[in-house]
Symmetry: C2
Subunit: 103 residues, 2 copies
């Protein structure tokens, strides 16, 4: 399986309401894309100094599952409505895991 | 529980041998810190365009567990021997999860 992680730094004009709407939209999206086996998204809890504004983690079966998720029309819709205009910086990576889940 | 994710961009002079040594050191470290419930670290598989060079994901019980991990002498030792001199950029976030694991 593959763990996909991404962090985001928001532009200065992003509001808490924007972020709440984004989280709702991402959660709804994840529930409708079967290739996403497990999903977590939300504002950084900022338990340590510095750090990004927001994080996403998704578990998929393989590279095809990752493409199905990231190229899905519902993901593109969230990008177009929220992420594209909100993000100043993004960093992402995929790691191999033998198995995994989170809720 | 808390999911801690971090991505790293390496400096230009970082070699594959450096990264392999780092991954070995992180894996050994994670096995010796009981507050780390689950851990994954490795080079970005680069299944999508752009993206960071390296990623880490760790699951801990709570904020105290995260501090125990990140402030642990074995973590500091890996930072001093590898991460500090290797990283050009780092982005990290903590997300709340109700439960989770990966191997």
């Amino acid at each position: 399986m593959i763990l996909h992680i991404a962090t985001f730094q928001w532009k200065d004009d992003v509001t808490e309401a924007d972020v709440a709407e984004l989280t709702d939209a991402l959660s709804a999206m994840a529930a409708e894309i079967p290739e996403i086996r497990s999903y977590a998204a939300g504002s950084n809890l900022h338990l340590r100094p510095a750090g990004a504004d927001y994080g996403v983690a998704a578990i998929v079966d393989d590279a095809a599952g990752l493409d199905a998720y990231l190229d899905h029309p519902k993901h593109k819709a969230v990008y177009e409505k929220f992420l594209g205009r909100m993000m100043a910086e993004r960093a992402a990576a995929q790691l191999p895991i033998s198995q995994g889940s989170f809720a």
